[in-house]
């Protein structure tokens, strides 16, 4: 395959890049010249070298190549509330919550969600790792609340149900509560266009 198509094909594996944009990117790299390509290739190579995956929450975080830490800054920060863990689908969700500055507990990244008709849900998310971390946190950190913060769509709801069902044998005897994010009107929502479920929750959560 020619090098332009070869690069385009690899770019198409990345989220949100279609065949047309992939080729435009390849040509743009050629037009921008070898220095830009070199820098980009270097940044991609460095990404793996200078990043580690946290042994507890499984997020990717910056870590020097020499001394690869095992724990991310949130998991090793004793100032954060270790009695709560918030479960998200992806690293980008975790970033969004961190940036909102409204949460002071621990995190856990599932690494994806479970499609409705998935026959082997355990393969789609880090459920074994989650169970191990919950067990450890219950014993060592006094864990008392698990917030399931999956998306408010079909896959997110299904994932939340699966996670809840899998965790309950561990959380119920340990009196750990499982909660989920509040539903209601998102910023910008107009009443007229809100679905029944959203209106019900908006009324229930009024205050």
């Amino acid at each position: 395959m020619d090098p332009i198509s070869a690069l385009a094909e690899k770019l198409m594996r990345l989220p949100g890049i279609g065949p047309r944009q992939a080729r435009r990117i390849a040509y743009a790299l050629l037009a921008l010249g070898p220095a830009v390509s070199r820098e980009l290739a270097l940044a991609i190579t460095r990404l793996g070298d200078e990043t580690a995956q946290c042994e507890r929450c499984y997020r990717f975080f910056p870590a020097s190549a020499q001394a690869k830490q095992a724990l991310c800054s949130e998991c090793s920060d004793t100032g954060r509330d270790a009695s709560i863990v918030l479960i998200v689908e992806r690293d980008t969700d975790l970033d969004a919550i961190r940036k909102s500055g409204t949460y002071e507990g621990r995190f856990f990244v599932l690494g994806g969600n479970i499609p409705i008709l998935e026959s082997d849900p355990a393969k789609k998310i880090r459920i074994k790792e989650l169970l191990a971390e919950v067990t450890r946190a219950a014993r060592e950190d006094g864990l008392h609340e698990i917030i399931i913060a999956t998306s408010a769509n079909e896959e997110g709801e299904y994932t939340a149900q699966y996670v809840t069902k899998t965790l309950e044998p561990t959380t119920l005897p340990a009196q750990i509560v499982i909660t989920s994010l509040g539903r209601g009107l998102s910023t910008g929502a107009e009443l007229e266009y809100a679905d029944k479920e959203t209106l019900r929750n908006a009324l229930k959560n009024r205050g």
Copy 2:
């Protein structure tokens, strides 16, 4: 003006109809034939004749031409909880809440909202009528909660603030609480794209 342009101009006063669609509608009426036009004109004429505006909640409701009732079915239904009133911007919002089947109290229709830079807010919504109805309901119906259910956008928030500020001199001494709809993730919302405010509320309203 020719009759097609004349009709198009009147249609353009209606919500969501632009100049192009207005002409398409005019031609469609011609193509559909005089019977359809007659029926439509009749339905428009009947609308006013067979509808009344409730003296309490100001919604429009079906009412026979002879005996025009003063109160809509919700306001005259003694089975509904008269101690709560839910304030919406428009009749269509009221319809949405009614259809959701999750609310059993009274309503009030403001008739619009207040743009951010409006110099005379009182002209944009039925604020005097609302104050009168709240006063009446406090005295006669044991009103104890007012739910402000304006949209979760700028105008809606501004309207909610204005309504709250205007009602408080009446509600505070009467110990009537003013609440607003719960904010959080709307159905379909993805965490990564949620704004800070929505995330904060979703965390606060978790459960």
Copy 3:
């Protein structure tokens, strides 16, 4: 049915109005007051009374109620070139061409187009009327060109083929040419996103 739903149902028969907008329009009419409704109903009633359908091109045109002319201003304008007729799907297409000020011949309005899988094409467009008009114009007006100006989409192309096939037994012996609108880049089109057919035509029609 209540008068609001009854009006909404009638409005939903019109092009581009869905159930939600239909109700918003009904409530808007109530809010705007009886004078506006009366004016709108009157404009709808007048539309039929003050409009006629041209006996030749079948477009709807303004015509006084007393003396209903048979021919529209274009068909009765002897200044226009009667040797060319341009066939469009709808009255709004005719308006678009008239407004562009780039055509000086006659028109014919098909009244729609033919869906690909239609079993009875003759029911969807005024094909008999077209054949009669072409025959008349060939005899009386020296017709020598028919421009088929249907849309550049599947239905439009299919309609053009059907019209051509139906007219040819009449036009071939009379040496009337059938043409169609030029294809190429529409204003705003970017080369990269143009389909093969458009590029081929753009190259062919270069100049």
Copy 4:
């Protein structure tokens, strides 16, 4: 800067990648594992090594690292019609025309277009290179037509005017005609929504 943000920043220089997608891509690369990152970095590095820029048409084309050819396959293909050159803004436009299989002449890639208010147009496109190539082709290849195939938008039209004006002192005495792509209805276009210019061209180019 942390390696995730560093990569995201570089990705944002590429066409069509915004800040959010840039981070999603970075995390996706981490999740896909080091082998995928390595392959992508390699494909980017190879892109420059295995590609050359044609000395005549300035397109980028696959070329072995050892023997870097000076001419692309189109420019060295004696089977193609060297008497016509088609000028495009970008490599992706050239690809689109090649794929359409409807053009058998030579190409020239301008490398961009000229914004309306640009004070130094010569900096935005390869105008000197074009002039040199036209001069060469007039002398050596019997060039007799230049097709300006810029986009049908403001920048494209302005670029076409600038190119025409710059080439004319060379092309007029040499009797080389400058043409541009045909305008008309693009595939999918509906008459009602076509602008005046498109309708005018569609009528002119009918056939």
